[in-house]
Amino acid sequence: MNTFGKTLLALSLAGAVVSAAHADDKVLHVYNWSDYIAEDTLDNFQKETGIKVVYDVFDSNETLEAKLLAGSSGYDIVVPSNPFLAKQIKAGVFQKLDKSKLPNWENLDKSLLKALDPSDPGNQYSIPYMWGTIGIGYNVDKVKAALGEDAPVNSWDLVFKPENIAKLKDCGVSFLDSPTEILPAALNYLGFKSDSTNAAELKKAEELFLSIRSSTSYFHSSKYIGDLANGNICVAIGYSGDLYQSKSRAEEAKNGVNISYSIPKEGAGSFFDMMAIPADAKNVEAAHVFLNYLMKPDVMANITNFVQFPNGNAAATPLVDEVLRNDPGIYPDAATMAKIYTFPDLPANAQRAMNRSWTKIKSGK
């Protein structure tokens, strides 16, 4: 995920805000993803607790991590995705949660907590906020026009079979520009383990991408939201929430673009955005109050209804809009769930190998 422009803006804005606000018991500094909370959540929180929230946003894990690793970020709550969280825990970025101050912990989805155990052993440092999958967003009409009625829209065949993607080339295909999140999809598609660090298997995934490279329009982690909505591209491999946002935008614009999202049947990667408290947080007390507030089922359901990402709160599910709850792209069924994998905390050299491979795929060098 690296959209530089917005990142630069967010960084400079965030820097200004943090330095301007002074340490105050009733002020909590939260650093979350952009467009990732309901409009009224923070106001409601302040009304209920009297704590004022200074809320800043970022748009890539890398931006957040650079701040955390430099030290003294000035935030009381941050929201990294799980593989990043795992590294950051090892680097000593976070403090353990005081579960006695989090009675609403009980509402969390137990199976999900278990799935997150590799990232945060014993769930000591973080709570799951929202999660999502990396799948296929597509322009229903254009894909059908290119590949016929039975286009494999629910399979990676759509983009990983050179003969299929070649037919989509003219209407445009984009991939996330994020090697550690996209290469596992190719590994999984080829029948290897999605978290493989085997050099030979990685090479095969690289070859797969090289074979479809000429049919790919671009690699980017946010541009596709707009491009898919206004018909510039017809297939985008991206984050589920972003693709639903794209769908909503097209509906609002009434431009005749009909977008759908599917989780490929071979399996898909998932990301979990985790809330944690930095070790040097100034307002630890208020941070716990905030986390506990967010774990209330009605608060969480309200956020999901707004951002269209599923949350990690089992008690909130019945309160979520029926349309979202019954959409298999947002709340996948059990069979799909079984095929969904998480991204591991890769060793530094494996991560470097993936990034290097990605540069080769993109630039040919």
């Binding site: 422009g5 000593g92 510039n232 990034n355 290097r356 630039s363």
Partner: protein, 303 residues
């Protein structure tokens, strides 16, 4: 009285203070950050805050300095880094040449315009730079994209049937860079050209020199320092340019700024990123020295 005089003699004189301020500035905002980057380039990546190992330690009266040259060796082992440096240098050289070719006639025209029009023309050159670079580059994305203004216009004219792929190619990067850096070429050129003594050209014409000949034999040699200053002001920042290629470039755009970004953010390898930056500075130091020498000459008032 004697005491006061001897104290004031020992005190730094006013002119030393004045000279000292820029040096202090250079030390604080150039030398110090550079040494920090240099230090990190000799460290090893680590999972910690900050994410690299200590280069020196002071334990029990023992000062230990460990210089890890691995990062520099690593850079020489993968052809990617050399390709990225060359890509950046080529991008900078071509952009500088384009800026010169476009900027020189513009600067010349402004320098020869009536005094009252000069101000207006200079403002027209400078005004766009008052808007944030990010916004201007985003505007280019709107102009160059497949269903953008340029393609729409060309298709309306009937010159092309389907949109030209300009955005996300090197061509778009050149357009963006030349557009953004043109003022930095024009302004030093103008400052130089406006000082030229017109009577030299008149004298040459009287003696039968063609305007073409006069231009190459009189104007260009006199403008040499302006040309060098303009070229350096464009070339040096373009080598490290990141924003424009990131927003307008495509996957084949390989520049050192992007590679540095990847090392820092994607690979979490601050030491290798620092080593890349140090090598880049070493590459740039030659033009920077040229530039400084030229500036010094300009200051002395010698053409």
């Amino acid at each position: 009285m004697n005491i006061i005089r001897s104290i004031s003699r020992r005190m730094p004189k006013g002119r030393h203070l004045v000279i000292g301020v820029p040096f202090l500035w250079l030390f604080l905002f150039f030398m110090l950050p550079f040494f920090i980057v240099l230090k990190i380039s000799f460290a090893e990546a680590d999972v910690a805050i900050p994410p690299y190992t200590d280069v020196y330690t002071w334990v029990e009266n023992k000062f230990t300095l460990v210089l890890n040259l691995g990062n520099y060796i690593f850079l020489s082992e993968d052809a990617l880094y050399l390709a990225a440096y060359l890509g950046s240098l080529k991008m900078a050289a071509v952009s500088t040449l384009l800026c010169l070719v476009i900027g020189f006639p513009m600067a010349y025209a402004i320098a020869r315009a009536d005094k009252d029009k000069q101000m207006v023309l200079l403002l027209l050159i400078m005004m766009p730079t008052w808007t944030a670079i990010l916004i201007r580059v985003y505007a280019w994305m709107g102009i160059l994209s497949n269903n953008g203004l340029l393609n729409g216009f060309l298709m309306w004219l009937g010159l092309i049937n389907e949109p030209l792929q300009i955005l996300n190619t090197n061509l778009a990067v050149y357009i963006g860079i030349v557009y953004s850096y043109l003022p930095f070429m024009i302004l030093p050129l103008f400052a130089n050209l406006v000082k030229h003594d017109q009577s030299l050209l008149e004298a040459a014409a009287d003696l039968g020199s063609s305007t073409y000949n006069s231009f190459w034999k009189i104007t260009v040699p006199l403008a040499k320092n302006g040309i060098i200053a303009g070229c350096m002001l464009v070339f040096i920042p373009v080598v490290g340019e990141f924003v424009i290629p990131e927003l307008l470039g495509g996957p084949e755009t390989l520049m050192i700024g992007k590679v540095l970004w990847q090392e820092f953010f994607n690979n979490r390898d601050w030491p290798v990123a620092s080593a890349l930056a140090v090598v880049m500075l070493a590459i740039l130091i030659v033009p920077i020295i040229l530039f400084n020498r030229n500036q010094a000459k300009e200051m002395e008032g010698r053409p």
